[in-house]
């Protein structure tokens, strides 16, 4: 079926495309270009002296054990956040996808946290887990846990993972719930008649049929945990103690804005940009193939 629209001239189509093009140029191509240029230079904070240094910043980056460590930490962090938030969301969605009283109410409640800004979410967790004033912290201390994430790296990582994952559960929940509801009831009915019960039905029918949703969410969650958790981490731990919660994003901020090392920070941004390009290509490929088949 031919779905293309043929325009007579080039002025009208150009006018249609222009706003989007301008947005892309001003908000993506220009800054990205600046970052790439910056990554090849060494400059003082005020940009008074700028020297072209080629790939020196990148060489410094990859020979810096702290950067490599930070990259490893980011992978671990992203995996933990994605697994936790998707796991919890899937569990909630499976239970919410039933005929029970008041489900409209608590479905709505489950979606609420998504509207909370990252920094606010972090403050809520801060108030709960703060070693001196936190309610949960008091509880933990009462049962003999030596809770102080300000000086315990493992606990600090746990705190930022929890806060970041909690924030994303609602989003995942919506998608999982929609995914579950789009599974034809007849398939489930058939499985039931074949005698497949709860867990078995989930493992053999629901979960495989949810695969496209799961894959989409996996990519979204990885991107979220790598890039959007900066506000949460900054508000909770600022990357500390030591470097226990310093993800690549926190490091870019720290080196660029706090330490004024613009060359090094730009190089890190370029690396992150390549990462996100790779993830996007992966997703387009996968989703594209499904649609064409």
């Amino acid at each position: 079926m031919e779905r293309r629209t043929i325009f007579a001239g080039w002025a009208l189509p150009a006018a249609f495309v222009l706003p989007q093009l301008l947005l892309t140029i001003f908000f993506f191509l220009w800054p990205a270009g600046e970052a790439i240029y910056g990554s090849l230079t060494r400059q003082d904070a005020f940009g008074i002296k700028t020297q072209f240094v080629g790939f020196e910043n990148f060489v410094d980056l990859f020979t810096d054990p702290l950067y490599v460590e930070s990259a490893g930490r980011t992978v671990l962090f992203c995996a933990a956040v994605s697994f936790l938030s998707m796991g919890v969301a899937l569990l909630l969605a499976v239970f919410a996808d039933r005929e029970i009283a008041g489900r409209g109410f608590y479905r709505t409640m489950l979606i609420w946290p998504y509207a909370v800004a990252p920094a606010v979410a972090a403050v809520v967790w801060l108030l709960l887990l703060h070693p001196q004033i936190g309610m949960i912290a008091h509880g933990l201390k009462a049962v003999g846990v030596d809770w102080d994430y300000k000086i315990n790296g493992g606990q600090a990582l746990l705190v930022v993972v929890l806060a970041s994952a909690w924030k994303q559960v609602s989003y995942n929940f919506i998608f999982f719930l929609a995914g579950l509801q789009s599974i034809p009831r007849s398939v489930i009915e058939a499985a039931r008649m074949d005698g497949a019960r709860g867990w078995r039905r989930f493992r053999t029918i629901l979960f495989p049929l949810l695969a496209p949703t799961t894959f989409f969410l996996l990519v979204v969650n990885l991107v979220y945990s790598a890039f959007d958790t900066f506000g949460t981490i900054q508000a909770l731990t600022q990357g500390g103690p030591g470097k226990s919660t310093e993800t690549l994003m926190v490091k870019v901020y720290r080196d660029g804005l706090v330490n004024q090392d613009l060359g090094g920070s730009s190089a890190q941004s370029v690396v992150l940009m390549l990462g996100i390009v790779a993830l996007t290509v992966l997703q387009f490929r996968f989703v594209g193939r499904r649609n064409s088949s």
Binding site: A45, G47, P241, G242
Partner: protein, 442 residues
């Protein structure tokens, strides 16, 4: 005082309607990082200056935290939109001095506008931090504090210690902490805000130790950190041991530990002298202020402590006129007048930056009324200033502090020993210093 403010406000109100006609008024923009009550004080200063004369109008703009203000100033200068004045924290001094054409140092400003600033009018500890090695003033001292030891007199009494006799040496501190712990007078005996500034930078200055070569960077960009020598090792080991014994609680970098003393969480709390207002407001117990403890085995004759806080830098843009620079200088002159300096000091808990402001506060009987408020000044002016106690002129110093904090945190978690932490600080810090040197020399 009240009457003066009132008069000033009236004058300001009276001046308002005529502002439309006064075409010749020069407008000065001042970016600062003072929030809440301190921000109000900044606005008051601007208001009083505007009311005091008819040619210049200062507009004070809050720009966020110190690092945010620094970033904003840099971005604005790059865009040719820099403010006339910017308040810059003391650890940004090295970076600002390297900013060449972006700033106009006080001595240059003085030369161009003919408005004199006498460096000798300022307290030595303050002046040293913000001047060139030959004594010319680079930036205008504004809010300066030093660090002191706050202690909980009720807790001291409970632990059987004399509440009027705060510990003087580090051995006294440890003994006091053990007594406090034995009686569980507070959840933890000791805590510290600004751990690196207070426990290492101040420690180095007071004990006349080399923190970095080239007079802590004053003599050249090719400076190197030296904080892995035995005296620093002793101090680091002491903190680690105290932490292990449950005598010291680490509660975060920079000002993260501000609240633990006033809340009664610790009985001995190290913090800036500018914490006075908060302590006075929040502490539900009798408290005292004391000098920082010393280690007589390292140096029995302690020197001056160094300052923290910020100074004002004059910034440039391509289109800035001599009249604007002159107006900027007039305003700087205004804030350094003794009565303005004394008011700022008494309202905020920062130390007076001028000797005359200090004398005036004395005459007004401020220290008789507010016992202990002159203690920071005594500590700042103790002994003869040496190359090690003048302050710091290290590039990217905020980053150096972060590196030190990270290594300290790792050591407190038991991931490395004291020597390893200090060696790592030196190695990582020197890399940053070399980067800064390369970037600045160009």
């Amino acid at each position: 005082m009240k009457r003066r403010t009132l008069l000033a406000t009236t004058a300001a109100a009276a001046a308002l309607p005529s502002a439309g006609f006064a075409q010749a008024k020069t407008k000065i923009v001042w970016w600062h990082a003072m929030s809440a009550a301190l921000g109000e004080e900044v606005n008051r200063i601007a208001r009083e200056f505007n009311a005091s004369q008819g040619e210049v109008e200062v507009e004070a703009v809050f720009k966020g935290t110190y690092p945010e203000t620094l970033t904003a100033a840099i971005a604005a200068w790059r865009a040719g939109q820099a403010p006339h004045l910017v308040q810059m924290f003391e650890v940004g001094t090295g970076s600002m001095l390297a900013a060449g054409p972006a700033v106009k140092q006080v001595w240059q400003l003085s030369q161009e506008t003919g408005i004199e600033f006498d460096p000798k009018a300022y307290l030595a500890g303050v002046r040293g931090y913000y001047s060139l090695s030959d004594g010319r003033l680079a930036s205008m001292p504004f809010n300066s504090s030093t660090s002191v030891m706050w202690y909980n007199k009720d807790a001291f009494e409970k632990a059987g210690l004399d509440p009027e006799k705060p510990p003087v040496t580090w051995n006294d501190v440890i003994a006091a902490c053990r007594a406090l712990k034995a009686k569980a007078a507070t959840p933890t005996p000791m805590g510290s805000a600004w751990p690196i500034w207070i426990q290492f930078e101040q420690f180095a200055a007071m004990h006349d130790l080399v923190y970095a070569t080239k007079s802590n960077g004053f003599e050249g960009l090719d400076t190197e950190l030296k904080v892995n020598t035995p005296p620093f090792l002793k101090q680091m080991q002491r903190l680690l041991d105290m932490s292990k014994e449950g005598l010291f609680k680490y509660a975060g970098r920079d000002n993260a530990a501000d609240a633990i003393f006033p809340s009664g969480e610790v009985a001995i709390g190290f913090n800036s002298s500018a914490a006075r207002a908060a302590v006075a407001r929040d502490a539900k117990f009798r408290w005292g202020e004391a000098l920082l403890p010393i280690d007589p085995e390292i140096n029995a004759k302690p020197l001056n402590s160094i300052i923290g806080g910020a100074s004002l830098w004059t910034m440039t843009t391509p289109s800035r006129t001599p009249a604007e620079y002159k107006a900027t200088a007039q305003f700087l002159k205004f804030i350094s007048q003794p009565d303005n300096d004394a008011v700022w000091h008494q309202h905020t808990g920062y130390v007076p930056v001028t000797l005359a402001g200090y004398e005036l506060s004395k005459q007004q009987g401020y220290y008789a009324k507010t016992v202990g408020a002159d203690l920071p000044i005594q500590q700042l002016t103790r002994g003869e200033v040496t190359a090690n106690s003048r302050g710091f002129r290290l590039g990217r110093m905020a980053e150096l502090r972060n590196i030190f904090s990270e290594e300290l945190e790792k050591a407190l978690q038991g991931q490395q020993g004291a020597q390893a932490a200090l060696d790592a600080t030196v190695a990582r810090g020197n890399r940053v210093l070399r980067e800064f040197e390369k970037a600045t020399k160009g």
